[in-house]
């Protein structure tokens, strides 16, 4: 039995500039993500991938159509949502443990308890010994680990990720992908993972959705039958993986052609 976690129905999103010019980011876009599903979205730049995530958080409501989370129409920020940003969104003036403890503290947990929870999460993401370091003292991969711990500590049922690993080097990215799969497999949140990297999408997701170029709408959708638990580094050499990768690329190719 799989319940619907996220539903976008016939969503259109326009951006109107102060001069009155309309840009259509998404047109008649529909997407359903079931509970516990890992859904990756790939598409050419400017096709509205990030806009989709913004609408699910409630930070940027759709111009028309409906967005609902667990059957409820989205009006504000749903407390069950976690978001991992592309850029560094850890707080530079807080050390690692205080950064991770922020979520529970914002939500009213006692500071001492929140710090204890944070200490556990810092260890879980492999940053034991760095609790008192400030973000500028960490590498890009370590900052990303802080961001993951900061998001996971709230135990989100829906996890939105906006090209979270695109700024990392290839090796670090592979490590972080495994880290993410490890963290995700424990609680099985519903994930919407936006990326421009087809291989990353296939390696991580149960389903890959290809968007057409702006105004974006769903062009095709692929189920990924690769077994779990997966190890990202080895999964990408299986014949199924290569075949999927080729099919998705041929879909995407038409969209990115200039």
């Amino acid at each position: 039995m799989s319940q619907v976690a996220i539903e976008l129905r016939n969503v259109t999103r326009k951006f109107i500039s102060p001069a009155g010019k309309t840009t259509l980011a998404l047109a008649d876009f529909s997407l359903t993500v079931n509970q516990g599903d890992f859904c990756a979205i790939v598409g050419p730049t400017g096709c509205g991938k990030s806009t989709t995530l913004g609408m699910i958080t409630g930070l940027s409501p759709p111009s028309s159509g409906s967005v609902s989370v667990f059957g409820q129409r989205v009006t504000g920020i749903h407390p069950d949502i976690g978001f991992v940003f592309q850029s560094d969104a850890v707080f530079p003036w807080k050390n690692v443990i205080d950064n991770v403890a922020l979520g529970p503290i914002y939500r009213g947990t006692d500071k001492k308890l929140a710090t204890e929870m944070a200490a556990q999460w810092v260890r879980r993401v492999g940053l034991a010994g760095f609790e008192r370091h400030y973000p500028h003292q960490l590498s890009g991969g370590m900052r990303k680990r802080v961001a993951l711990a900061q998001t996971f500590i709230n135990e989100p049922k829906i996890l939105l990720m906006d090209e979270p690993f695109s700024a990392l080097d290839v090796q670090t990215r592979a490590l972080m992908q495994d880290e993410l799969l490890g963290l995700w497999s424990e609680k099985k949140a519903s994930v919407v993972f936006v990326t421009h990297d087809i291989e990353e999408a296939i390696a991580l997701a149960d389903r890959v959705v290809v968007l057409s170029k702006g105004p974006g709408s769903v062009k095709s959708s692929y189920e990924i039958p690769l077994a779990r638990p997966r190890e990202v580094a080895t999964a990408r050499y299986s014949p199924e993986f290569i075949d999927l990768s080729r099919r998705i690329w041929s879909d995407l190719k038409d969209e990115v052609q200039i």
């Binding site: 940003f85 807080k94 922020l102 979520g103 914002y106 492999g126 709230n154």
Partner: protein, 289 residues
């Protein structure tokens, strides 16, 4: 991944000799800078004194270092015409510090308040521009009419001098706060109030602290100019009295007293800044271009 890997990232043996040399180079550079600074001061003062003694410049207008020193000594040992130097200085300091605290407090409050409220910012920005365009020193006359010759009028002038600088920086600091960080805080569960205090204020703090350096000087200007315009005590009055008796050495001596105060305040503010912004990256010893 071990703790010390952040300090010595490579497995290579660390070259202690190189480290020692880099530190020694930095120390030597520092010593050279201090020596040259003292040399510049010595040459300037000696040149000034010599120029007066050889009749190149007129001490009536330009005074001379020895006369300024003598004047300072007289003030320190015998007191000024208005009373002991330290009590005059205390008056000016009290006006400056109170004006500085009130002005920067209001500046931060309004800067962040308007920065967080788009409509209020749009409505009031025009009035703030107008108020900022007025040369604020002229307000001193009004304040003397309003608050009299006592401290109140000087504090009020110092407040308006400080307010606009701090306000402008706090406002800009709020506007420059990283949108991703704000969005992240909201999604992590923060209320608007929590975002203001835990995200917007810390990111504006860099801007605010930078403005405090400038604005302490402005507070001092406000207090001293206020005393020029009419007062019973203070360093500004001392200058104005010296001016009235064509005592150039007195003007310079009062200037030195004010400079010492301003430098001490600057030092204290730097300490405060370093304590509050300890999360910023430190500079390496290694020197670039």
């Amino acid at each position: 991944m071990t703790t010390n890997s952040i300090n010595s990232p490579a497995a290579l043996p660390v070259d202690r000799e190189d480290e020692r040399k880099a530190v020694a180079r930095a120390v030597n550079h520092h010593r050279l800078v201090i020596f040259l600074r003292i040399a510049v001061a010595a040459v300037t003062l000696a040149g000034w004194e010599a120029a007066v003694r050889y009749g190149l410049i007129d001490p009536f207008f330009f005074s001379q270092p020895s006369a300024i020193y003598a004047q300072l000594m007289v003030w320190l040992t015998e007191g000024t015409s208005q009373g002991p130097l330290w009590s005059e200085l205390l008056v000016t300091m009290e006006e400056t510090v109170l004006g500085f605290i009130i002005g920067s407090g209001l500046g931060i409050l309004f800067g962040i308040g308007l920065g967080r409220n788009r409509l209020a910012a749009d409505v009031f920005s025009i009035y703030i521009k107008i108020a900022n365009a007025i040369p604020r020193v002229v307000l001193g006359s009004i304040f003397i009419i309003m608050f009299g010759l006592g401290m109140g009028s000087k504090i009020a002038l110092a407040v308006v001098m400080v307010f606009f600088v701090v306000f402008g920086n706090a406002f800009q600091g709020v506007r420059e706060a990283d949108r991703n960080l704000i969005a992240n805080a909201y999604i992590l569960g923060a209320s608007k109030r929590q975002v203001t205090f835990t995200v917007v204020f810390p990111s504006a703090l860099t801007w605010i602290l930078a403005s405090l350096h400038v604005s302490f000087g402005f507070a001092l200007v406000g207090a001293v100019v206020g005393e020029f315009l009419g007062a019973r005590h203070g360093i500004g009055l001392l200058i104005s009295t010296a001016q009235g008796t064509f005592n150039a050495a007195g003007v310079f001596a009062a200037m030195i007293v004010l400079a010492v105060v301003a430098l001490a305040a600057e030092y204290a503010l730097t300490l405060l800044e370093n304590a509050l912004l300890k999360w910023r990256p430190v500079q390496f010893v290694e020197r670039g271009m």
